[in-house]
Symmetry: none
Amino acid sequence: MKLSDRQRKILDFIAEFVDSNNYPPTIRDIGTACGISSTSVVKYNLTKLEREQLIKRDKDVSRGLSLDWTRLQEAGLAQHMAGAPRPDVSDTSNGSAFNFFQVPVLGHIAAGEPIQVETADHNNADEWLELNETLYRNPSELYALRVQGDSMIDASVLDGDIVILRHQERAENGEMVAAWIDHQNETTLKHFFLEGDQVRLRPANPSYPEMFLPAAEVSVKGKVVSVIRQLE
Amino acid sequence: MKLSDRQRKILDFIAEFVDSNNYPPTIRDIGTACGISSTSVVKYNLTKLEREQLIKRDKDVSRGLSLDWTRLQEAGLAQHMAGAPRPDVSDTSNGSAFNFFQVPVLGHIAAGEPIQVETADHNNADEWLELNETLYRNPSELYALRVQGDSMIDASVLDGDIVILRHQERAENGEMVAAWIDHQNETTLKHFFLEGDQVRLRPANPSYPEMFLPAAEVSVKGKVVSVIRQLE
DNA sequence: CTTGACACCGCACAGATGTTCTTGTATACT
DNA sequence: AGTATACAAGAACATCTGTGCGGTGTCAAG
């Protein structure tokens, strides 16, 4: 379908309005801006635009309309419009997707030092790590620790590496977790197995020995999601 | 001023609502979502948030509110919120900036298998990795390999890890490189030291022994820039 | 004890806003 | 001429939605 001048103007105005107000215009806003005296005419045209999928509308909701940038892009209408999203490599369906996010580096981890994930709120992280959305889910549960010393070497994690963890207190068998071992005053990264009331901790590097401990002495601080070593 | 739980919740909800609806919620929307029965209480808290400049509000306008991401970022509240604008690391002015890029995963690497970086053009990679611009420079020189088997365990690199390399034939002393060793028919990741006409290769994991080889037998395939282990 | 600030609740009101109905004009097709 | 369709206007209606005001309970200061 071909759009009328009026409809094009309406689209432009909506874009401009949203861009400068952060909320959509009302039907009457559109009317006065586009020189339409009647609300019904605006609605008429909006319905039309909605049929073309260029906008989305929510019935009976004030200002309940939004532009569909994907379709506008397809129709070649987006270029000159205000607030058009910049084209993104992986941005697909919805117009709101941001492709990466930040994860707080809550501090250092070393054997002999407990990590306080619960208390350490995300607000006072001393460093932030930018990660890619395609690789991780539920980013809000993630945090990162910088490894200090060679204490994790049996997990093939070296001094300076960054460990990304998903905060959780319980672990499934076989998962690699960050565990605090009471009696040894040590945090360590190992594969976790609960066997009766005993916990078996298997290093990632098979040339190191396994550990067997009473379950009460081991507390899980999070699941290891990723290890990143940055050398340059 | 410190925000109450309720106020934090309201902010979160607004972010989430806008993210999924493209228009802001009403006072009543916020109320029901945050367990507030009275509209006036919502208004009360919104006024408070507005005083803190965390949101902007337009009088008498339905859904006339928007989040101030700049201030939210400053307050350290933005990270975990839905639809937070990505912090623009690179630039803001022109619309062309991409904050991340893709690196080809050229194939697998295992001891005994030579890697052909020169021939393997970037066009027929079987996999692509999205990386962040802030962490790497000169992305066009980068390529990645997926490690197969435990042959790199002395470099604390495990089966399944991804190694990111910068393509270069020569290495400075001390750099971690991917090296092909003629006589052993093996690719390995080690710290590289040229000592006279001998090459010393030191594993990253100190519990493994060093190697000494004639320089002619060792050819550098690239410098190791990063090691990424994805566990979930 | 009194006072006042603070956070909260309910409710009524008015203005903001989408919807619907009726009417009118122009164009195209039969 | 007759009919269908796209486009437009205005007014009445319904409801959505922000605002204002009186009231409650708590808590610390005077």
